[in-house]
Every structure is written in C-alpha cells, then in structure tokens.
Symmetry: C2
Amino acid sequence: MDKNPGPGMGDTSKSAAMFRVFFSSKINVLITKSSVEFYEYVERSLGWDLGMRYLGYLFLVDSEEFERLKPALDAAEKLGGSYSIVEREELKRQGFKVDVSRDEEARAMGIPDIEAGIYVPRAGTLDPDSLVRFYEVSFKSLGGEAIYNTYVKRIVLGPKKPLDIPGEPFAWQDIEAKGVETDSGYIEARNIVVAAGAWTRRLLEPIGIDPIVNPKKRQIFVIRANTDELSALLHTKGYNDLGVIPFTILPRRVYIKPEVRERSFWVGLSDDLGRPYALEEDPKPEESFYRYSIYPVLSKYLPQFTGASPNTMWAGHYDMNPIDGQPVIFKVGNIMVAAGTSGSGIMKADSIGRIASAVALEIDEAELFGGIRIRTEVFGLNRKDIERERIIL
Amino acid sequence: MDKNPGPGMGDTSKSAAMFRVFFSSKINVLITKSSVEFYEYVERSLGWDLGMRYLGYLFLVDSEEFERLKPALDAAEKLGGSYSIVEREELKRQGFKVDVSRDEEARAMGIPDIEAGIYVPRAGTLDPDSLVRFYEVSFKSLGGEAIYNTYVKRIVLGPKKPLDIPGEPFAWQDIEAKGVETDSGYIEARNIVVAAGAWTRRLLEPIGIDPIVNPKKRQIFVIRANTDELSALLHTKGYNDLGVIPFTILPRRVYIKPEVRERSFWVGLSDDLGRPYALEEDPKPEESFYRYSIYPVLSKYLPQFTGASPNTMWAGHYDMNPIDGQPVIFKVGNIMVAAGTSGSGIMKADSIGRIASAVALEIDEAELFGGIRIRTEVFGLNRKDIERERIIL
C-alpha cells in the first residue's frame, strides 16, 4: 500500500541513486556488494535494464582528512575494495581549483586546499524507477498485490483475544496490529510490514513503537552544462568508460553527479547540524540552500560553476538511523519494520529485502544474493554493546 | 534554566520515586548502587533528609515468568543483590488472591495465577523534591545560578567563526550553539547542557540532533486506604521495618506503592504497545486508563480494591531510551545532553550527573561516588556492537 500512484515514487524517486562497494566496515561491504551483484545479475542474466552506469566516485580531500582516511582506505582495500589516488596536478588539469586558499574569500570561508583525490571505480548510479519496477513485477509474479493512491493514516491495534468490550485493547491484554486505517477506509491485516522510509516514525510512534529512524530533508539542484567550461567538465576523460566526470565529493561534502543525457550536473549537500529532523509530507527545495550553502563552495573548487544557478530542483528525505547509519529491521509481534536506509538505501536495497524477509519469517540468518549468510539481529533494535538488563519492571 | 518555578517540578515531581539495587546487569548495579549509597551518605553524614524509606520491592510472578527470571535472579545475586522467595501460602495470608484462574472473569481476561513472590529488600522510595533541592543547594554553593519560570523555545546555532553575513550559519561553516531563545528573550551561552528529560527530543530535533530518547506518558492514581481491608493491606507486616506492604508489582505490571502518611496507595502501570511516544506540554491523567487497564487486574489479585476509585491522579512522562533503557549522555560540539532515564532516573541520578560532568569535561572515565570508575562511552550515542563505518560520504 502506497500513497503514491506507483512504487518508489516517494523519496526513492528523488534519490541521486548512487552505489558503491567501497567501505571500511565488513557489514557495509557485504550488504552493498551482494546488492550490486544482484543488480548486475538482473541486467545481464534477466535482461532487465536497470540503467547501471559505473561512473566511479571521486572524493576530494584536504591533507587532514587524507591522513585521517588512510587507515580506513587500507581497511577497505583488505575487504576487496580498490581505489587509486589522483594527484593534485592531474586534478588541476581536469579543471579543479585545488589551491583555493590563494583566494581571499575562500580563506575567509575557511575552506581547505585539496590534497588529493581518491578514486573508487566500483561505484556508480542506476535508475531507481526501473529497480522498483523490477521488484514490483517480481512481487506480483509471486501473487503479490499492490494498492496505490492509498494513504495509511494509522495502524490499528487490538487484542489478540478479543472480548468484544468497548475500548479494547486494554493494557493487560496481548496487543497486536489488526489493520490500517486509510483514506479509502479500513483494511484488515494479519501481518503488517512497514517499509515506509521517512514515514516510518510517523506511523509507529502513535502506536507506541520507537523505530530509532528519523527523517532529514535532502535536496538536489540541477545545473545545466550550458557553457563550454561546464560541458568540458562534464566530459572529463580518464576515469570511466563513459568518458564523464565521476560522482565527485568536494571538501565540505558538496557533491556533483554528472547526468550526461540531460547535459546537466546534479548538485547536493548532506547537511547535518542545523538541518532539522522532520518529516515534510511534500518537501520543498530551498533555492537559498543552493545559493548560500552549496554555491560558495562549489564555485571555489570548480570556477566553471561561477554564476550558475539551478533550473530544476527537488527535495526528499533520508530516513536516518542516527546511531550508526545502518538499516533498522525488526519485528514487534505481527508488525515488521524495515527502515533507516540513511541515504544508502538503493545500494543496500536487495540485501535489506532479504534480511527483512528472514526477520518476517523469524529466521536468525538471512541468505544474501551470492550465498553469504548474515545474522539478522545485527540490524535489530537491540544491537547493543551494552549488557541487556533482564530484570525489568 | 527551567520552565517551572523551581527544580525538579516537571516529571521528577510526578515520579513514584522508587529505587532498587537489584539488577541482572552489572552496569545497572554499578550506577544504582553508587547513587543510592550517595543518597544514604547525604542523609547520614550530611544530615539532609531525603525521606528514604526501605519499603522493598515485591514482584509477583506467574510460573512462566518465574522460570524465565531464575537465571536473571542468579545473575543479580552474583552481583551482590539479595532476594527471598515468598511462598503462595504466605501471599494468600497477606491478602493476595494467587489463584485468580478460579474466577471466570479472570480466566476470560487471560491473567495468570501467581506462582511466587520475589522480595528484594534493598529497595525503596525517597522524596524527589528533597533530592533536587539538595543538588540545587550544592550547585549554588559552587557558584551556580538557576533561572526559573523561563521556557526555552529553541537552541540557536551559529558559525564558530562568524563572517557577519545574513543567514549564517551555512552548511560549509563549523556550526555550534550560540545561545537559547526563551520566552523572556535571548540568552547567550558558551556551552549548553540539555538535561530536559521528556523535552530533550523537542529541543534537539529542530537543530538536527536526534537524541534517541523519546517521551511516553506515565500516570499515577491515588487510592485512599479508607476501608478496613485496604488499611490492613497497607499495614502488611513481615517485609520491612516500617511494617507496610512493599512496593508491589502484580502480573501484567500493575504496581502499587504504599503511602502510609497519606493512608493511600499509589497505583500505576507502565504500558507499552498502544501507548504513543509523544510529549504533552501539560500531560493529563486518564481516569479511563485506571478504570479499564489497571482496575480489572488490580481488583482480581487484590479484591480489597473492589469498587475503589482514585481520588487524585496525575500524569508525567518517562523519557525512554527505546533501545536499552539506559541513560543517554553525549556531547556534540558545545552541546551536552543527558537524557533517557527511562523510568529509573532517580535511582541513577547521582551517577548520571557524574558521568555527564565527565563527558562535559571530555574525560573518558567517570568516577562514581564510592570510587568506581566507568567508561563514559558506554552511555554515548554510538554504544554499538556493529562495526563503525569510517568511510562516510
């Protein structure tokens, strides 16, 4: 059931839809690698075009961050990841301004010189709409039914063993979900799976479940490559088979993504402190965010963008797990929750689905695509280092 | 700074104010034992009456829960806790109806027979108002100043290095807290300590910090012991030096607390699924909650309460940590947070204060009263089993 007219038309459709298989933690490598390999299998063996394009990721780092990252890069390499260092001279030739501190304004802003680029080839983008359609077709071929244009207002609880007393359920009863109230009436349910992304907290808090996850607004601004300089930047050679600039992350986390067919760049920034945790039913992009928080950084490192302003923009949410950025997958009675993709939902989606189905079936280990097994409790609510108290009042 | 006219007049004043030093997890024993020993020191050595009364805790359990609890009771004993088992016959003599299943209505309700009582002597209650006044006096004697009747509307952020550009802070700046906006104007601050209990989430979400903790309404109903049967129950002998019934937890978690001076029982129930996570600025008790969720259970196990209804009642919140029920103590830049007491705030308060002050001073280990040292990261946001990702985009 989805409030939108089709699958994945909420925040999924607004995503930059990037993936990478390059992480310092084993868990991230496992769940992204397996998902990406499944997507490759879908394209190559099932012949379903997911629009996968290996753009690569290019992280541009200052000297401090470079030092800080080195042990993590080693760890990523030990886990099978590959990367190469791009020298400053090479970056300069490609049009990056690495020595911004020569600029008085940049100095006042406190933005740092670029020490190096870290290029990760096993990374790219895909078409999220095509991916969700693939899953929808698979779901329907298994007999699944999807209801669209239907807004779930609330999950309705009731007693496991009803006594038909008005006011049920009471606190002394065993309580479970009975159905959902929607804008087209009540729908009964034996089990409920909440895979509602940013809407998860809004659905669960009222029935007394805190899902940990919390939405934060994210925005994408589209800049047309309508000058020779921007066009040249878009078609930067030497990184990938596509002959385009990689997905590039500047210092201060401003990113640009090439969209060659649209002759555009998608530009964004995942801001943290100061950006509220909040759900907006229909989130609106803020042009001022581009102008004052993105543009000053973007135009210093890439003067090709000087004067450029977005001709399209939109906003969605990350459904954040504020503790560790990992998905949160758990079951409370007959209510199953998969949430908290934290901005890496697409690159982990296939694994999340397999883990969620194991949790739904109460199987302790999920089998990911490729055969790797993973304990589902790693993604549960109680994945804690701290000793669990067993005497609870 | 507090919206109330004095310290601890929010949820602290509405608490049942119970303490115990009987847990299966080492961390709970450490932080409650140290706190309770400090309170004893305050009473005995400093001569400040905290109103400590060792009522004891009496858990009444069915056979299933009794079996489930046995390993936890062993663990608690190994950690220095003591308890005794109260036999069914003894409970019957004291006026408990242990065989409720003989009653048709109780059978329909599905409430279980009591198999045993577990009595914990090192537990009781204290006067929360006296406790917070003690801390306030200590705080003021160190030169602290308290501002009351002042409602903090929001925490104001700004750039660490202001450029005096309208619209600051921007996402590329280093951001910190600059002060708070209150209903009596703006107050500048070098550091901010958020120890706002149920209000923590409301203060932090808007500035982009998710504190994990989330409030849930809790209610207390006062029943006068105005019959011979209730008076006899109140003065049940054999448990404590006070000659009163212990703080007693019935199956389905309905509890009663004796208030001898008031010739009353305080009755409550910490409901879970179905009770929303939500903050109410001025929470109201629901008499229907007593009538339909508490009374049916209470009057089955203790028929002395038949026909009894509350003459006073109030509501507050637990500030829940939905993950593990432990306090959450952390620092983001110059914003320090201590929250998530989850219904055991008073019994842990002294330890929480010492841990919070270590976190504020960026000391890795806190020293609790009595000299025990504890790593502060145990209470941080990132207390996770899961491996931390170090390559974060």
